[in-house]
């Protein structure tokens, strides 16, 4: 197997996630796109770990998974708070701090 096939897959997931973060209005869908980005990173870490024949790639992927779980928890709590205050999770309407 080529190393590049995994890296290209990761790059594609990353690009799709970037598009989703920029183009989506629904806050939950934006969080899902962020998960795509984090998974792209995980594929890269594990692929390089297998390439160098070490478990360190796996260890770092596990750290990323733990951070992603924390991020989703806090993110969804914030989304719920926005929904409770504004009755909508449309990110285009959350512009109080716009200059």
């Amino acid at each position: 197997m080529l190393l590049n096939q995994f890296l290209f897959l990761g790059a594609f997931l990353f690009a799709a996630g970037v598009y989703g973060v920029l183009a989506r209005r629904n806050a939950v869908l934006v969080l899902m796109s962020i998960e795509l980005i984090l998974n792209a990173v995980n594929i890269n870490l594990v692929a390089f770990g297998a390439f160098r024949n070490t478990v360190v790639g796996q260890v770092f992927a596990l750290f990323v998974i733990a951070i992603a779980a924390a991020e989703v928890g806090v993110g969804l709590a914030i989304v719920l708070l926005i929904y409770r205050n504004r009755r909508s999770i449309d990110l285009s309407e959350v512009d109080v701090m716009r200059g």
Binding site: R25, E71, V72, A77, V79
Partner: protein
């Protein structure tokens, strides 16, 4: 090697379709379910790379917990379950441009640097070795992640609590 390449091709195709569907679907619940397909594909790729523990954790934490959390979020914010017309904002074309640019840049750099380098996953990386690595060399980051998880848990409760 041929069998692994075929398996990779199938999972990569399914994951690519799933990722595109996650960011383009008109139905929020379908988005969460397509995300599940992508996450399962990532776990399959971990197995292909002889990293079984990461694959199991991926299934347990991502598919088992995070997707369910997303579904809860969708239900609690009362998104319409059916199709919805205005899930995208007005920046779709610039966003598409940025996404293609990011992919093109990454792909060109990767192709230049790792052109025809092969990866030969050895025997399956043992979970005991992963544990050894976490609890000796990386014990400080591990404890830091534990504290981060606790802080995130408490923070989520505090933020979402009704006063």
């Amino acid at each position: 090697m041929v069998a692994q390449n075929i398996f990779f091709g199938i999972t990569a195709f399914v994951m690519a379709v799933g990722a595109v569907r996650v960011v383009t679907t008109k139905n929020v619940v379908h988005g969460a379910l397509w995300l599940m397909v992508v996450l399962a594909g990532v776990a399959a790729n971990f197995v292909l790379l002889a990293s079984e523990f990461a694959a199991i954790v991926q299934v347990l934490v991502y598919i088992g917990a995070i997707v369910v959390l997303f579904l809860f979020g969708i239900m609690l914010t009362r998104a319409p379950i059916g199709r919805e017309a205005n899930l995208d904002n007005s920046q779709r074309i610039p966003s598409l441009l940025v996404g293609l640019l990011v992919f093109g840049l990454l792909a060109s750099v990767l192709a230049k640097q790792w052109g025809r380098v092969h990866v030969h996953p050895g025997p399956v990386q043992r979970t005991a070795d992963v544990a050894n690595s976490i609890f000796t060399q990386y014990v400080v980051p591990f404890e830091a992640v534990s504290v981060v998880l606790l802080a995130a848990l408490v923070g989520a409760v505090v933020i979402a609590r009704r006063d």
